[in-house]
Amino acid sequence: MSLKRNIGDTILAVDQISLSFGGVKALSNISFSVNEHEVFAIIGPNGAGKSSMLNCINGFYHPQEGTITFKGNTRRHVSPSEAAREGIARTFQNIALFKGMTTLDNIMTGRNTKMNKGIFWQALRFGPAEKEEIEHRAVVEKVIDFLEIEAIRKTAVGTLPYGLQKRVELGRALAAEPDLLLLDEPMAGMNIEEKQDMCRFILDVNDEFGTTIVLIEHDMGVVMDISDRVVVLDYGKKLADGTPDEVRNNQAVIDAYLGVAHDDEE
């Protein structure tokens, strides 16, 4: 599969990132880079700093040290809405949907940054605003088709089962047509069948739209199957990175996963 896609140059470079909360060092000196069109996995035990890493990338956390380079722009601090406008979309470990809104409206919000007709036209509705709404609706309907959630289009997402909510959340991120898609444990809490569906969606997104994907996942089978490269974090430090095979045979990684005692006092 990875033969067919042509992996491009570096799209995201994380350089010497350190982040701490009071005394807790969530990340120390992390560097890695992700190439265009790649599926890149971040793995590690609980509390390793994986979610914190994604939060730094899309501007939700501001690291104390280090820089992040996305599409050639180097920065340390960026606001989340700025990052979204630059082409980074994400899903969350704990679903962060707009519960009172329908599936359709939730996914439509993913296109908000691409819509620009002012309040006057919006109030009139016909004319430019209507045209804009229909154009974006068409994109959103494609996402809905793609994720096979036609039947729940007009259902309030708060009432949907967990697996479907995860899918809607992916839909909202996809609607933004991101260059970089960050997925925080997209398959957590799913049964085998749902996991297979989700894997298929992730690979299809990567394949069809060429979207670069950075995902966090605990299920090693899944990670080894779908990712091109992997970085391993443990207690905020980077243990290893490389292809799934390289990582699997890395002694430090084996130790961490088998629970060999740490010596983390510096």
Binding site: N58, F60, S79, P80, S81, A84, R85, A89, R90, F92, A96, L97, F98, K99, G100, M101, D105, M108, T109, G110, N112, T113, M115, K117, I119, Q122, A123, L124, R125, A129, E130, E132, E133, I134, R137, A138, E141, R172, A173, A176
Partner: protein, 358 residues
């Protein structure tokens, strides 16, 4: 029952996005508008205009405004009375300073001025939420009423401190002042409310409305998908205040004719409009109307029944009214936060499936 959508297929996104996508809904709304514009103006008398219809329209307008802010954007406000006062005083200053200005323009400008004031008082919402924001808007309420009481410029230094709306015409009919006929005053308010209800419906189901609801449902996630909280919250304050300002201008000019800030715009107004929104339905345009109708009609109904039919004392009836509305608010908040609008929706679902239970 003929409330069905069977056989009505939507063949375009445009049709699917229409406000009233079921033919029967369109029919009911159309009928309502025909009666409201074509029949009521000929039947209306002073009692109906003053005690019921104009009051209903003014509060529906204010409720639309508060619903945008609280129901759609999730920002609680107790400053409605104060913002209505801004609209009223803005219209008073405009109408007395520029007597030639078209009255529709005066009302719209008053809304615009209130929108600007609302944005200023909305600034704290960027930092604080919920209860704390409510307290901040409460401060706005007291400050504004105090201001209009204290600074003579606002009431043109009239010795009583009252403001009086001078007579103004629209298409040759008086709509303000003591001589104005109820039909013209009612139609004037009705036109504003109809147009702006439609605008509110359109705004809330488009990009801007979705950004408000996203902020309401989960502000952090909203920001992470690129919605700027500053833009969303301040625009909600602005649009909401615009509506409330127009409501205040209509309230003062067309309904009351005279006003004195401490009484006309006190904190009770803020609560009254908040109750309308809660009972009618948070986050629903229809709810703003249902709630306003309920809050205007319930006291009259209770009074007529208890005093007129059962012979109780007026003060007893007043107490019963307060208790009933209080109970209803608690009930709605606990059982059905989406208010009467949601009950109406459930009824429609039932009708659609009738005679089957599911």
């Amino acid at each position: 029952m003929f409330y069905r959508e069977a056989g009505q297929f939507k063949t375009s996104y445009k049709a699917d996005q229409a406000i009233f996508s079921i033919t029967q809904d369109r029919f009911i709304v159309g009928l309502f508008l025909v009666v409201a514009f074509g029949v009521v103006p000929f039947l209306i008398n002073d009692y109906w205009a003053n005690a019921i219809l104009i009051q209903f329209l003014v509060y529906a307008m204010a409720a639309l405004g508060l619903n945008i802010l609280t129901g759609y954007c999730g920002q609680v406000s107790l400053g409605t009375g104060g913002f209505m006062a801004v609209g009223a005083y803005a219209s008073y200053k405009l109408v007395t300073s520029f007597p030639e200005l078209n009255f529709i323009l005066i009302i719209l400008l008053s809304g615009g001025i209130t929108a600007a004031v609302g944005m200023v008082f909305g600034l704290p919402s960027l930092r604080i939420k919920g209860f704390y924001l409510a307290v901040a808007t409460l401060a706005a309420q007291f400050f504004l009423v105090w201001l209009f009481n204290k600074v003579g410029w606002f009431f043109n230094y009239s010795p009583t401190g009252m403001i009086v709306s001078p007579p103004r015409e629209m298409f040759g009919y008086l709509i303000t002042g003591a001589e104005a006929q109820p039909g013209a005053r009612y139609l004037f308010c009705l036109s504003f409310v109809t147009i702006f209800a439609l605008a509110a419906k359109n705004i809330t189901r488009g990009r801007i409305g979705r950004s408000w609801m996203a902020i309401r449902d989960m502000d952090i996630a909203a920001e992470l998908i690129g919605i700027r909280p500053l833009e969303a919250k301040l625009s909600a304050f602005a649009v909401s205040s615009f509506y409330i300002g127009i409501a205040g201008a209509l309230y003062f000019n067309v309904w009351l004719g005279t006003a004195e800030p401490t009484e006309a715009f006190d904190i009770n107004q803020s609560f009254f409009v908040l109750f309308i929104v809660i009972i009618g339905g948070l986050g629903s345009i229809l709810g703003s109307f249902l709630g306003a109708a309920f809050m205007v009609l319930a006291p009259i109904g209770i009074k007529n029944l208890m005093v007129g039919v059962l012979g109780f004392d007026v003060s007893v009836a007043k107490h019963v009214e307060l208790m009933m509305i209080g109970t209803l608010i608690i009930l709605f908040l606990i059982v059905e936060p989406h208010g009467m609008a949601r009950l109406w929706q459930i009824l429609k679902e039932k009708l659609r499936r009738w005679p089957f239970p599911y």
